[in-house]
Amino acid sequence: MPEARHCTDCGTALQPDGLCPRCLLLAATAPSGSGGAVPPREVPTPQELAEHFPNLEIGELIGQGGMGIVFRARQRGLERPVALKLLAREIAAEPGFAERFAREARVLASLAHPHIVQVHEFGQRGPWYFFAMELVEGASLREMLRARSLSARESLAIVMQMCDALQYAHDRGVVHRDIKPENVLVDRSGRVKILDFGLSKVAGAKPGDTLTRTDQVMGTPHYMAPEQWERPETVDHRADIFALGVVFYELLTGELPLGRFEPPSHKVVVDVRLDDVVLRTLAKEPQRRYQHASEVKSAVQEVGLPPPLPPTPAPAEVPRPAISRGSALIQALRARTATRLAPHVEPFPLALKIAISLAIFLACGFAALAYLLLLSA
């Protein structure tokens, strides 16, 4: 029987025609009008960029998305590694972009917070509008979700850090608008870094634009608050709180909160008091949600963190870089959130016990056999 091929995005077995049933169904659940991201075709080489960015040593391409492409780079003189994000030319070509960029980029660069990816520099060089940002060595929550499930404790730790970042930005009038697991990074020391704050506003995203735009800069539909679709002119920082809620739910349960979804405590072992917190962030009307990210954090703190898991050996490596990275980061996250434990005594491994029992059994068996042979001789 031929091996079924699997979807590179979600791992589900493909249909005979090569399509992924889960991806199809997910696409069918999205609100109407949403399309898919169209990455820019033209990817410049590091050599081409070098002439536009003399102060940077351009390295490898590390990311490609709906809004643009990202290169690893190093600031000469400072010798500081950065991520160079180049906005897609189709976006920059839109009318009104230059003004928006001038207005918004300065605000984004002024955001200085441990849980927000720092913008060091921005501007235009030749045809490229760019941001030079803090380079985060780590993985996104999407990769971590794919690698293995996060414990409740780790999920809560992540959410609280996200709340800090969101509250800080909201206090300065900046709304992210595109919070999703792909935009939340975790660095090697287990620290959350939120990416692309306010970028969709710079790019001029408007729901309902999908037909005319060549790219898709809107948020992934499953994380978007209802008002982002229905009354986009009324959107404020509370849309970020909704998206935070979707991510929160997904971190805890591994699933998206679709339709009449079950509260997290029905799906995984978590404190039932968290149900109310998650459900309130996911309220359809903005006025029924928590009004501030800091309130979400307080609510989570009141429920309290569950006890840390005992250290486990690293899971068996599968030859996929994302999984190994995700697992390593989960270790770091655990280390960050674990309290001091009593010296942990590793129980005598069951496999070893079985092996030894089997060996003894066999040895007895052979001894018995030998004895019988001896007797019959």
């Binding site: 249909q15 025609d17 049933p21 339709g259 009449r260």
Partner: protein
């Protein structure tokens, strides 16, 4: 799994509302969803012949029953209703089989339902439901069959209006993103501008989404249940 009449005229909600089970309507629903039942039977340990017998006999019994009022809360979803009914049927089947063997002879029921049972094993093998559990296999095959039927419907619709080439070129765009390069290539093959292609893709996606919702709506009691059923199907595929 193609029905002779347009699928959307048969709704589970109507079947439930009717005082007597409407045999033709129920038949049509059964004809559309027998593969998940077969998957359940196979995963329950029945060999192909016997799994066939089980499915045919199950339908025969279901279609003879006039009174659906006795069905419990799961009746709101045709998918769940069928599963529960099948579960009981299979449990009783084994007892019945034992009794029949003692009586000397097996009676093969004929429902008159035209099911492509010999092809079923091959189709199940292609789907590779990743589970040994009969109920989870049922759910996965149900979700996959529903999608396959929607795609088939949509393909037929496009072919019927002379847009078969558009469907073939763009259907993989239904599940995700197309790069700028792919858009350009396909636009050229179809003799369209890139802009026109994007419009066509958008229309295809909308039509697909509508079809999926339509087909699901035909298996649930009310429109409000469609999103829940979608979520349930997504969970089934995650297994």
């Amino acid at each position: 799994m193609s029905a002779p009449q347009p699928f959307h005229t048969t709704r589970w909600s109507l079947v439930l509302a009717a005082r007597d089970a409407q045999r033709p309507a129920l038949e049509e629903l059964c004809r559309a969803y027998w593969l998940p039942l077969y998957a359940y039977a196979r995963r329950s340990g029945f060999e192909s012949h016997e799994a066939e017998d089980v499915v045919q006999a199950f339908f025969a019994r279901l279609l003879e029953k006039r009174d659906l009022a006795a069905v419990g809360p799961e009746k709101g979803r045709f998918r769940s209703f069928l599963l529960v009914a099948l579960r009981h049927f299979v449990a009783n089947w084994r007892d019945r089989e034992r009794a029949e063997k003692r009586g000397g002879g097996r009676v093969r029921s004929s429902t008159g339902l035209d099911l492509d049972l010999p092809g079923a094993d091959a189709r199940l093998a292609q789907m590779a439901p990743a589970t040994d559990d009969p109920e989870r296999a049922y759910e996965q095959v149900w979700a996959r069959e529903l999608l396959r039927a929607c795609l088939e419907d949509l393909g037929r619709e496009y072919a019927g209006s002379g847009r078969g080439a558009v469907f073939d070129e763009l259907k993989d765009g239904l599940q995700g993103t197309l790069g700028e390069g792919q858009v350009a290539e396909r636009a050229e093959r179809l003799g369209l501008t890139a802009g026109a292609l994007k419009v066509a893709l958008h229309r295809l996606r909308t039509r697909f989404r509508d079809k999926v919702r339509e087909r699901i709506a035909a298996t649930v009691e009310s429109e409000a249940d469609v999103d829940d059923e979608l979520a349930a199907l997504l969970r089934a595929l995650a297994g």
